[in-house]
């Protein structure tokens, strides 16, 4: 006799409703592949193209605490907004973000990144200048590479000075697909 999917779901919903979960996660389908999405009561904390929970759960526990639980409910809003984005019906996200445990430089770069408009691109150097560190283009590249919340924090809109795409933690195919979706290419 095993736990029915219905009972399992009820437990997970109750855990979130009662505020007992440090970080809830679920897998979300998208045109650029499956996404591992995690949110806390502070907001969206992570989107990853790597959906292997083994890697992800330990990482989330280090950020937020050990009460990490799969729960569709906790990522409902993120799922809805991502769906709208991929349908071309949403150009900006209204999600609050959980940027806990990130160094100050990373946070300031990500805040500037969040201001890069839909359908436009900027460069690593320009982003570095915008946080007052004009020579830190390489460090900005590292921040992009480790961006915990890609898509919503649009590191796909950051390209090289010569206009080439340079790189993307999720693979260049995905960067290309996102920029094409936004009509930037």
């Amino acid at each position: 006799m095993t736990v029915s999917p219905d009972l399992d779901r009820r437990f997970r919903d109750a855990a979130v409703t009662m505020g007992l979960v440090d970080m809830g996660f679920d897998i979300v389908d998208s045109p650029v592949g499956l996404l591992f999405v995690a949110a806390s009561d502070r907001g969206l904390a992570s989107i990853s193209y790597d959906t292997d929970p083994e890697q992800q759960l330990e990482r989330l526990a280090r950020i937020a605490g050990p009460c990490v639980l799969r729960s569709p409910r906790s990522v409902d809003q993120a799922r809805r907004e991502l769906d709208q984005y991929f349908e071309g019906k949403r150009r900006a996200f209204d999600l609050t973000l959980d940027l806990r445990a990130l160094p100050p430089f990373t946070v300031s770069v990500l805040q500037k990144l969040a201001e890069v408009p839909y359908g436009e691109t900027t460069t690593y150097g320009a982003l570095a200048s915008s946080v007052g560190r004009p020579h830190a283009a390489r460090a900005v590249g590292t921040v992009m590479n480790r961006n915990r919340i890609p898509i919503v924090l649009p590191c796909h809109r950051v390209v090289g000075a010569s206009g080439n795409l340079v790189g993307y933690a999720g693979g260049l195919d995905r960067k290309l697909a996102l920029l094409q979706l936004e009509g930037a290419l």
């Binding site: 009820r10 855990a15 759960l57 989330l60 050990p66 009460c67």
Partner: protein, 152 residues
């Protein structure tokens, strides 16, 4: 001192949910097993953040389940006596130490074994027993005193 890391709750839940559900079905019946299951893991989740290490989590969650089962049966038959669990094959892991602690009340025995056998903290034991931290402390110390008296 190195101790076993506390796994993310999802792993803990996946690892133990089937066994917990089986135990609860046997103890409280199919009709009430679902509510008892939910309550067991909600209690565990509530106490999980305060765990100090990841050892003996199976014994811990089965103790919580056993306690939820007792509460459930008590609610159903308020006049009946406590259900004896000693002879069942779904004994919680802590009852492996039963011979040493025979003669104590179930609560004292659980408190003593979880404290001194498994080295759990009092708030963890409280969560397992569904009582206050102070009551857990009390049960453990009364139990130990009783054992000392018996061994002299």
């Amino acid at each position: 001192m190195a101790s076993v890391a506390i796994p993310p709750f999802e792993h803990f839940y996946e690892q133990h949910r089937a066994e917990v559900f089986r135990v609860l079905r046997r103890r409280v019946g199919a009709q009430r097993a679902e509510d008892a299951f939910q309550e067991t893991f909600l209690r565990a989740l509530q106490a999980y953040r305060r765990l100090e290490h990841g050892e003996h989590l199976r014994a811990w969650v089965l103790t919580i389940a056993g306690n939820v089962a007792v509460d459930t049966l008590r609610r159903v038959r308020p006049q009946s006596e406590l259900v004896e669990t000693g002879a069942e094959d779904d004994r919680p892991a802590y009852e492996e130490l039963a011979p040493l602690t025979a003669g104590l009340s179930p609560k004292e025995r659980a408190a003593v074994v979880l404290r001194y056998g498994y080295d759990l903290s009092y708030d963890q034991i409280a969560a397992a027993l569904g009582s206050s931290e102070q009551a857990a402390r009390q049960a453990a110390s009364t139990g130990v005193r009783r054992l000392r008296r018996r061994s002299t």
